[in-house]
Symmetry: C2
């Protein structure tokens, strides 16, 4: 299968590209290297020392004998080249990771709010428009987020995989409909993913584009079997206040004896998935496309749910690190339940990596190993969700 | 009240600016004159001879003694200036018409699809972002469309004003929720309005911005009491295949003896409102803002519904013009019912102009009067909704 991976240099994109390459697919990475440029501007670095993309690709060729292509391209702002690359490569599948993916970064300033909307919406719309213009039957797999649903909307009812059955009173009796689950995004970043959903729904309906939208939980872990094959293949591990996700931040904080920073009570329940399962899910999605004319297929790409405070306690116990409660910068409920349906991927054969299996490995192999690379000044989360009025 | 009218040179924006000015409000028009530039590129003109905006404003000052300000500004691409103008003028209300508003134009080509998404989404998001950055308590009134609901979703049930009561089965029994009505846009243009809705919902929730979203029907008619006060104040009347709306196109076709072009069977039911009522609705919305912290207020800004074929027959009868059925370029049902709730504006005192009152006036005062300005070659609608695959 010919697969284009947009954002193939990123935290999820790179291990996905390797996984798909190893599985025998022809992979072309399209990336504008924006994630590395943002690191430069934020003056932070991945905890793990990541090689430049061309070195990564060359190393992969050495260890695997497989070639991955690379096209330096900004899909949000170079439509003509995107169209040309699509026509030339004629992918069976495009995996679309090419979005600004940090909620705190998206709330950092007016500039980052606007960048996130512009990059994510223009990128997604350009992709759909170009596939139609090129006349391709390409299957688009998009990395969405559990955050499109919001938290607590349905109380203790499980969150379905994208579509919700509702009933409406009408003069002629009950009307039953299956609708896209109502959106309730918690940040500008999450909001862009809810906009993406409507773009996909339109192009699926109007043009018959085949779309799979993966509503992913918080990804934890660092390595996959492929990224472990050589030090220059190592995956990114972010721990800073903008791009570090909660569990990876805890692991690194524990490694340097920094208190585990919990926002609010930590009663927020979130869904998680290991990076090893992310790459498997994406291959499963590649192999199981919807048909043209179908509405977008939506998977909840999650394997476990935890309360943030329980995660912190787990790591505090393993590593003997104290917990510190900080004010929550987000506009959200301090506590929520979360039950997520994820039957579709399990039925397709996914065998999840659970937290209890992977946690110690992460502490020892990543957080402690690269501890001397930590800049502790970058740990605090500085983005405020709501600006005090002057 | 200080009111900024974004897109104040347009078909709805200009008469709205005059109406608000006459009512004693301080009006500042912000416009990038994109609508006139698109006319240049499409090689079409308003049937009515419209004066340049500065002349319009000068004429209004002569006949009314009232001053309207004008700022030439592209809100989608000059954020810094938008922010500065907002800070300087500190509007109580911003009326946001500054969007590409023609469905056929939005489906004309990849370029116009992308222009529509970029202009509309960036413009709306820049506005919300700038109001928050400026620390203003400005009320945003946005011109949305009935098309966000799609047609036929709820069968014969009335379309509520923005929010729909639904029930969901849960393990603990029925869960009742009021949700934003599911979106089902029929073009890229309509899609952008569904994206706008989610942007408004987020900024209302996260930042307490006060938003009113007006889901407007198809506007017909040309003049308001203010635009009739001097020939140089005359409003725009579009009849071309891209920007001409169905009823105005019929009126002009009848005036030149061109068959009334009905797409498909004409069984599509649509909602309508006269331009005189549009401007009144907007003033009512200005005077009745939501409170900070409220979800966006949504009004259905419509007064009547008609099947397209019935409109054609009505005008055929008055004017003795034949009807011609053409293939429908849109991807939509050939027939639909449409019942629309519009109690909120009626309760606020709106007294609708009905089709039976205004139609003959339009035929005589506008369509026949300017008949020599018609370029009949611009009448056919050329945009295809779905491109044949190569």
């Amino acid at each position: 299968m010919k697969i284009m991976v947009l954002g193939g240099d990123g935290f999820c994109g790179w291990p996905t590209s390797l996984h798909l390459s190893e599985a025998g697919h022809e992979v072309l990475i399209v990336d504008n290297l924006s994630r590395r440029q943002i690191d430069v501007l934020l003056e932070v670095e991945s905890l793990t020392p990541i090689a430049p993309l061309s070195e990564r690709i060359a190393t992969w060729a050495q260890v695997s004998g497989r070639t991955i292509g690379f096209e330096l391209l900004d899909i949000a702002h170079d439509y003509d080249r995107l169209l040309q690359v699509l026509k030339e490569f004629a992918p069976d599948t495009v995996v679309h990771f090419a979005e600004q993916r940090a909620a705190p970064y998206s709330m950092k300033s007016p500039k980052t709010k606007r960048y996130t909307v512009d990059n994510n919406v223009s990128g997604t719309h350009n992709l759909m428009c170009a596939i139609v213009e090129a006349g391709l039957d390409t299957h688009v797999i998009h990395l969405g987020t559990m955050g499109v649903y919001g938290y607590g909307w349905s109380g203790t009812a499980p969150i379905p995989e994208g579509y919700l059955e509702v009933r409406v009173d009408t003069p002629e009796g009950d009307l039953a409909r299956e609708i896209l689950h109502p959106a309730n995004p918690g940040s500008v970043y999450h909001m862009t993913k809810t906009l993406d959903q409507l773009i996909f729904a339109f192009y699926a309906k109007n043009d018959g584009v085949r779309v799979t939208d993966l509503h992913q939980g918080i990804v934890w872990g660092t390595q996959t079997p492929q990224t472990q094959r050589h030090p220059r293949l190592i995956n990114r591990f972010d721990y800073d206040g903008d791009y570090g996700t909660v569990l990876n931040r805890f692991l690194m904080q524990a490694a340097i004896g920094y208190p585990l920073t919990v926002h609010g009570s930590g009663g927020q329940t979130r869904a998680f998935i290991h990076i090893r399962d992310t790459v498997r899910c994406i291959e499963l999605a590649c192999l199981n496309p919807p048909r043209s004319g179908d509405r977008p297929t939506i998977f909840n790409q999650v394997t476990e749910t935890f309360r943030v405070i329980d995660l912190a306690k787990l790591i505090a116990d393993i590593t003997d690190t104290p917990i510190e409660h900080l004010e929550n910068p987000r506009v959200e409920a301090d506590e929520n339940d979360l039950i997520v349906e994820n039957r579709q991927f399990l039925e397709l054969g996914l065998e999840p990596t659970t937290l209890s299996q992977g946690l110690l490995e992460e502490v020892q192999e990543i957080a402690r190993k690269f501890v001397e690379r930590v800049d502790a000044s970058k740990i605090p989360a500085s983005s405020k969700w709501r600006v005090a009025k002057p």
